[in-house]
């Protein structure tokens, strides 16, 4: 008799699903706690301070939301591509190209009123991000080139190009040799509302728009069908090439918008570090949301709490950054791992037998 057997679950009742997810969270906290304890810190102090570090005061809460905004917008972009099973790993590059285009406008166009300026920057950023995504989409649609490698490699081109600009042609003369692009003028910086830049409004609007686009438009339906089965899409008379390209323009456009938000509101200039890994993190959050736009909102906020809490314990408890990263990694491992148990049932026949014999 096999000692283990794994079978696919047919249907999972909602309460069982809740139990499995909760168990994953509890286990991850226990495991992370053991690691923290081995490293000589007190887990009973660390975890609460992660929570208070992310939510405990107005400033900390603002910091958390600041981290959630780029994550939400980027995740939505990734979601549109993933819905089509187009593995867009190029979020980083698309964010940077968007930031680059927005910065070009900010640094070279003078005398526009703030709303016009910001709108122009946003459009430029979305176009640039879209183009950066269009390149692999075109080759995928016309020649079947593997998009995973293609989008990944485009990241490095974007990163190196922005680095070149930052260290070379775009280096501000007044920075005294420090590799830094000039700060934006006031009219290129996003206004604030309730103490946080208006990116949070943009993020909320994007959630609603992407939700409607995917679930209630013909194009969104086409994207979903292409993702499920290309043959069916072909059978239904869909123009697959154009669907791939349109979806990727949207995907890259949203990532580019993230770049504009970060450049305008957070960095207030162009910097190679402004993407901060959001392009990759968004892949995880998009998956955890099961490609649902509404879920993206909550998953990204939860993730931002984790990020902000990690940053806080570094400062407040002198815990090294790598330990904070480990805690994040462990929590992610369990949450992602629980997906397996949600989809498959694991039986241990020998174990069950023994239990019966004992009883």
């Amino acid at each position: 008799m096999n000692w283990i057997s794994i079978s696919k679950r047919e249907d999972l009742p909602k309460n069982r699903e809740g139990v499995i997810r909760a168990a994953a969270v509890v286990l991850s906290i226990v495991c992370a706690g053991i690691v923290i304890w081995i490293l000589g810190y007190n887990p009973i102090q660390v975890f609460p301070s992660m929570v208070t570090g992310a939510l405990g005061s107005e400033i900390r809460l603002q910091q958390t939301i600041l981290k959630a905004i780029p994550l939400i917008v980027t995740s939505l972009g990734i979601l549109v591509a993933f819905k089509m099973k187009f593995w867009n790993i190029g979020g980083e590059g698309q964010i940077l190209m968007g930031a680059l285009a927005a910065s070009y406008i900010a640094l070279n166009v003078d005398g526009l009123p703030k709303p016009v300026m910001l709108l122009l920057m946003a459009i430029a950023a979305m176009v640039a991000g879209g183009i950066w995504a269009f390149i692999p989409a075109f080759f995928k649609a016309k020649m079947g080139v593997n998009e995973t490698i293609f989008t990944l490699m485009l990241n490095y081109i974007a990163i190196k190009y922005v680095t070149y600009l930052q260290y070379g042609p775009w280096k501000a003369p007044e920075s005294k040799g420090f590799p830094k692009v000039a700060n934006f003028e006031q009219n290129a910086i996003m206004p604030e509302l309730f103490g946080i830049h208006i990116g949070w409004i943009i993020a909320l609007v994007c959630v609603v728009v992407v939700y409607i686009f995917i679930n209630h438009t013909k194009k969104g339906f086409e994207i979903t069908v292409v993702g499920e089965s290309r043959e069916t899409a072909r059978y239904a008379g869909m123009n697959i090439s154009s669907i791939i390209i349109i979806a990727m323009l949207i995907s890259g456009g949203l990532c580019g918008l993230t770049g504009m938000i970060q450049a305008s509101a957070v960095e207030k200039t162009l910097s190679v570090n402004l993407s901060a890994g959001y392009g990759f993190t968004a892949i995880i959050t998009a998956w955890l949301s099961r490609l649902s736009a509404i879920a993206v909102l909550f998953v990204c906020i939860a993730f931002a709490i984790l990020l902000q809490g990690g940053t806080y314990i570094q400062i407040s408890m002198q815990i090294p950054a790598s330990v904070a990263d480990m805690i994040q990694g462990i929590i992610l491992f369990f949450v992602l791992g629980s997906e397996f148990f949600l989809q498959y049932r694991v039986n241990l026949p020998l174990w069950n037998q023994k239990v019966k014999e004992v009883a």
């Binding site: 079978s7 438009t217 013909k218 979903t224 069908v225 089965s229 059978y235 008379g237 049932r345």
Partner: protein, 513 residues
């Protein structure tokens, strides 16, 4: 000889996959020197049962005895070692190797092997059972029948005395089937036990000595073939009486041409010619059958008419308009009502993870105005189709891939006939369906015919083709070898046309004996 030896004795076998009980308390006894048919509808648990015999699965409970000794298989190797040989429906051969090399594969006895000695051994086995395969022929040069023969030699060479054949006739022409049955009879005379899985009743009656019927994972009973009627077998399989006559009414008169295919040439994916010089006319109110060995161009003709495959040259007239080179979108936009049931239902015709409503939208949304998707009309349509075709589903928002094969096909067919198509192309519409569902599909096709639609019916069971169709077009390697009236030809004649009218090995063998 008295009571013959029990080759296989399976008792109380149960096997579950997740919550699905594939086998429950199944009994099967096969004697040496008998041909035992395992009969049942799709999903009755036949394959699960024999996969346990061949060591692929392991039963949850129950015992298996081979030649009187209880056995426990932990892998297919154990099963082969004890003398059980399984011939799968999909052959497990390496195309670029010769027959001999395929037989040697997986035999780890020694580094080198005396090739001449092996040829001799193969010849000995071949002569003994009346098998005929050239040991040095490459597999890719072989016909389906030859490949199957090679599979049989392979398991016999490994010492099998118990043979299990899973749906062995599904891909064969009538001539090849005759030859296979002759081989099976030879093996029986040599004292082998043969288990044959099939759902074709006439073959069961012809070849088997005893029949075990399974239904929904349970043994319904074992009967002697010469003491049973086809009708009661069906009752055992289905659980109720089924009328097995396909009604056929004469086609509409006069025959108005609807779809005219003229000198069509299509190049396949491998850059080889897939269809050459195809010309035929489909009339209003008729069912035109297409017969042929699998892969003779059936898929290509369907997809070319539907606009999915580009033609090299040729013309296709729909009601007088040339539609060649039009994409499916253009065909829909032209207002041409064409229904297409592709061979691969979930891979092409439907989106498995979507519900019935969204699968209806698939064909409908392009005609909707605006950028938003309207679900309302399709939800009503879904409810109507579910009721009309008697689709067994919890509700219209249930993913279609979770439905049974018959219900999936009804969703697809329901969608395609919903627009009252003038041409309906159906590729293997009853493949994998149980008897009840198959007859429901035949009825629906007949309904379309009497409504005046032209139906192109790609089939694999010649009996069904002859009962259902008004005319049968026979394909042979991408060409039409003839269009015949089924009331005027025999199955064997169609079989000959399928293989290009060549006197094949089966006939040569006839003369030998």
């Amino acid at each position: 000889m008295g009571q013959p030896l029990k080759a296989i004795e399976m008792k109380g076998i149960s096997k579950a996959f997740g919550s699905v009980k594939a086998n429950e308390d199944v009994e099967l006894t096969v004697y040496n020197g008998e041909v035992h048919a395992l009969l049942g509808e799709n999903g009755a648990g036949k394959s699960t049962l024999v996969n346990m015999l061949s060591g692929i699965y392991h039963q949850d409970s129950g015992t298996v005895r081979v030649n009187g000794n209880e056995v426990r298989f932990s892998s297919p190797k154990d099963s082969i070692a004890i003398g059980i040989g399984m011939i799968h429906q999909h052959f497990k051969l390496v195309d670029v190797l010769t027959a001999k090399e395929n037989i040697l594969l997986g035999r780890s006895s020694g580094l080198f092997r005396n090739s001449k000695q092996l040829t001799k051994e193969i010849r000995a086995i071949s002569d003994r059972y009346g098998l005929d395969v050239d040991p040095d022929k490459k597999v890719y040069n072989m016909s389906v029948g030859e490949k199957q023969t090679l599979e049989i030699i392979k398991v016999l060479y490994r010492g099998a005395r118990i043979l299990i054949l899973d749906e062995p006739t599904a891909v064969l022409t009538p001539q090849e089937i005759k030859r296979l049955f002759r081989i099976i009879r030879n093996m029986k005379e040599q004292g082998c036990a043969v288990v044959i899985i099939t759902h074709k009743l006439n073959e069961v009656m012809e070849i088997s000595d005893r029949i075990t019927v399974l239904r929904r994972g349970r043994t319904i009973g074992t009967v002697d073939t010469d003491k049973v009627q086809v009708g009661s077998l069906i009752e055992m399989m289905v659980g109720k009486k089924v009328d097995l006559a396909i009604r056929k009414e004469p086609p509409a008169q006069p025959m108005r041409p609807l779809l005219e295919v003229d000198n069509l040439h299509v190049v396949g994916h491998d850059r080889k010619s897939a269809l050459a010089d195809i010309s035929f006319t489909l009339h209003e109110g008729e069912i035109l059958g297409v017969a042929g060995v699998a892969g003779s161009g059936q898929k290509e003709i369907c997809e070319t008419i539907a606009g999915l495959t580009k033609a090299e040259k040729g013309r296709i007239f729909f009601d007088g308009d040339n539609i060649i080179g039009k994409t499916p979108r253009e065909i829909i936009r032209l207002g041409i009502r064409m229904g297409f049931i592709p061979e691969d239902r979930l891979g092409m015709g439907l989106v498995g993870s979507m519900d019935i409503v969204h699968n209806l939208i698939l064909k409908d949304y392009q005609n909707q105005p605006g950028i938003f998707l309207k679900r309302g009309p399709c939800a009503e349509k879904a409810t109507a189709i579910v009721r009309r075709l008697d689709i067994n589903t919890p509700n219209i928002y249930y993913p279609v891939k979770k439905l049974s094969g018959g219900n999936i096909q009804k969703v697809l067919l329901g969608r395609e006939i919903d627009s009252d198509p003038r041409v309906l192309i159906t590729a293997y519409p009853v493949r994998g369906l149980d008897i009840g569902a198959s007859y429901k599909i035949y009825d629906l096709l007949n309904e379309q015919k009497s409504r005046g639609a032209g139906v192109l019916f790609i089939g694999e069971d010649l009996d069904v083709l002859m009962d259902l169709c008004d005319r049968i077009m026979v394909f042979c390697v991408g060409r039409v070898s003839g269009i015949v009236d089924p009331s005027k030809v025999t199955k064997e004649e169609i079989g000959l046309m399928m293989t290009g009218g060549k006197e094949d090995a089966a006939h040569e063998l006839d003369q030998h004996q």
